[in-house]
Symmetry: C2
């Protein structure tokens, strides 16, 4: 129920921002899933029961596999439907994906991703590189009602890092990115060792790479100042092609943090240690961390990819981000104490005095439902205490007593319907055509349990 509300919330933000929803099949061709030769991907392949024993006769490329993200399907979708789409094509997609990873906290083999991407035909304006992370920030802001901490998007830019490394005289850019990405895990000295050992760097070049990774800034001015200082310190002149490349990335990144700061100060920062994915993306790259929950890792990642899809000579560049919703929901449930306000969506349980009068109870429930009030009817004409216990177990706040003279008791004379709030004990006369539940009890909702009290 919490996951459903999270999905509804995120979808609403995506639609408010004008993204079109698409849904693609769970399977893609093996050849698409393995496109980048990533045979290390933990893909699930399918086989039909009738094929058992002869699965291996079909090459993996020709078999079907479950998608492991929503980018591979998007790329196929864009090519298949390019003639029918209006570009730039803004789409949202919220679906399950599957990866054969070893399950652990926050890592699932089946999980829900919520993606937005903008795909251009040939070209794609840069302003989407700031707008898309901001859509995700506003979605994540909405999710704070479900116990999610404040999220900060950390942005970097492939061109900036690559230009700087080349300016230093390093040419194995992918290699440097790969080693710098290990900084958190193995520490600076080990990274320096690996850069020297495997990437053709000398000690000074390696230290310069680490100095770049240490740069963080909340606005363009600070970012530019910090980068200029590094170029001076490591002797990177302003006249080289490498510097020009770095300057392109710098200018995009500065624009992103400045524009974002105007709208949501502190929501998007420049963080030049973000290296993961830089070998894949061609411009901006984003990772998102939660205050006080950094062990969760990035909960919303993405970037700009100039060849999201290609069709003959045609290129479709894209900018996109993906929220790992299941990981967030897991955090909400297990750490933040989010839970359904009640088990049943019903606000009312209509009691049944006798199986012969069940149709009366059913009619009351129908009348309530017709006015949008979710109602259940007691499973049996058991003793009233048992019927109330059933409501109580399901968290249904109101029990409705149909008029019945034979049930006259201290609380009512049975001459009219009465409804009891079993949480407060309040009981009063009620008409199924006009009665309304108190707002706080009307809808099943998500509550955050106060862990301190619990």
């Amino acid at each position: 129920m919490v996951e459903q509300r999270v999905i509804d919330t995120v979808r609403r933000v995506f639609e408010l921002n004008g993204f079109l929803g698409i849904e693609t099949r769970a399977v893609e061709q093996g050849s698409s899933l393995l496109k980048k030769g990533e045979t290390s991907k933990e893909i699930y392949l399918l086989s039909r029961l009738q094929e058992v024993g002869s699965e291996s006769d079909t090459p993996v490329e020709d078999r079907l596999g479950l998608h492991f993200d929503l980018t591979v399907p998007l790329s196929r979708y864009v090519v298949e439907h390019s003639g029918a789409l209006t570009f730039p094509f803004k789409r949202w997609q919220i679906q399950k994906v599957w990866r054969g990873e070893r399950p652990q906290e926050g890592r699932f083999r089946e999980f829900v991703q919520a993606d937005i991407d903008v795909v251009g035909n040939g070209e794609l304006p840069e302003h989407y590189e700031v707008e898309l992370p901001l859509v995700m920030v506003s979605a994540m802001e909405e999710l704070r009602a479900f116990g999610m901490p404040k999220a900060t998007v950390h942005a970097n830019n492939r061109k900036l890092s690559e230009g700087f490394y080349r300016g230093l005289g390093l040419s194995d850019v992918e290699g440097v990115l790969r080693e710098v990405d290990k900084l958190d895990k193995i520490g600076a000295d080990e990274v320096v060792k690996l850069l020297v050992q495997d990437c053709g760097a000398d000690e000074a070049q390696a230290r310069a790479c680490l100095a770049l990774a240490a740069l963080r800034a909340e606005n363009g001015t600070a970012l530019r100042a910090g980068f200029a200082e590094l170029c001076d310190r490591y002797g990177i002149g302003h006249e080289s092609e490498a510097y020009e490349l770095a300057e392109q990335g710098l200018s995009t990144l500065a624009m992103i943090v400045d524009e974002a700061a105007k709208i949501r100060p502190g929501a998007v920062i420049a963080d030049l240690s973000i290296a993961r994915g830089l070998d894949y993306y061609t411009g901006s790259v984003y990772e998102t961390f939660l205050d006080g929950a950094s062990s969760l890792g990035s909960v919303c990642s993405g970037g700009r990819y100039d060849n999201l899809a290609t069709q003959g000579n045609r290129r479709y560049p894209g900018v996109g981000l993906s929220i790992g919703l299941s990981r967030l929901v897991s955090y909400m449930l297990h750490t933040a104490g989010a839970k359904a306000s009640r088990t049943s969506p019903a606000a009312v349980l209509v009691a049944v005095w006798d199986e012969s009068t069940r149709p009366v109870s059913n009619a009351i429930a129908r009348s309530l439902r017709g006015r949008g009030i979710a109602a259940d009817v007691s499973p049996s004409a058991a003793k009233l205490g048992k019927q109330i216990r059933y409501a109580d177990h399901l968290g249904i706040p109101y029990v409705w007593f149909p008029a019945d003279a034979s049930t006259a008791d201290a609380q009512g004379d049975g001459s009219s319907d009465e409804v009891k709030n079993i949480l407060t004990g309040e009981q009063k006369r009620a008409d199924p055509l006009s009665w309304m539940p108190d707002t706080v009890y009307a809808q099943q909702s998500v509550q955050i349990e106060d862990k301190a009290q619990a």
Copy 2:
């Protein structure tokens, strides 16, 4: 978009009726999927990329497969969570399922099912056998707004058929049901031939089975009269165990059509030709046909199953129905002419005069979104005609012109924001803090295309 609205609608009806939503993983153990020895099922088994070539080392029972319905997962779920559930457990579940069938019109390998079931612990009151089909009827009534024709639930009862066959002296009940089910396809004479040949019936017994299958009734009185007449005609006495069994089924079926007729006359009829599934279900069985679309087959089927799940000595009987949503959506799209009222969820496209003033346009869009109005911002500061064409392609009804003195033209002096309805041509001054779209243009919705006009 149509499918999404259909799912939202069905889910709302289920929740109004007090059903709890659950979501289960896409995979189940091979042993569960093949439980009833149905190796003919077109199940998709999974294998990890790393296992290619050695898949067959693992017996099918120990492999994972995609679920082909939502009943197998429910049965596992109930057993796994029996301690935490309140019984009778009413649950809805809307998910994709997969079957390796040969794709054809209305048959998909991946499709969405919408299920409701009530599961009892040990026992389950009979009234659910009329309430559940009525929930489905009310869901299908709501779907008529999407172009779905009127649906009629055809109900039968296993006990009624079995008691009648045994009363005739036939003992191969499963066999008789299987042959009677072929009536539509091969005709009465062929069915008689098969009953004689394979089920130990003589010609008269076979004709009696067909006479039962011809019985239809819209109320309990007609049903009882018709059945009594058949018993007289074929000499089935009222004193046998077989008759007692038939009488149990008859009484349930009569209750179902009578109760349903009070609430929605004609929505549920007794139809004793419904044989499919009778070998699986233990009491009531339902199939649902659409007016004028009988070629689609049953769009909502189910029944009562006394052993939906078992756990040691404990039995969990269930009553449930399943709508094949994808088949319905396919009908809506391709036959009924349902389509999205517009491609984009956005009601407004905010124009951009110049890239330097994009932040102004973004602020207007944010202000609209804050009031629940979906808004997009023009991808580029192209000529106004091009921006309007972008809105037009996406079906966005309004284009918003931010105030800008330099854009003064015949229609406005540029001193205030203006908004133009590009469908009606109407343009007027507007304030992003208070303007509202006309209701008819506010939300993306589902429309039924008038095929006669098209």
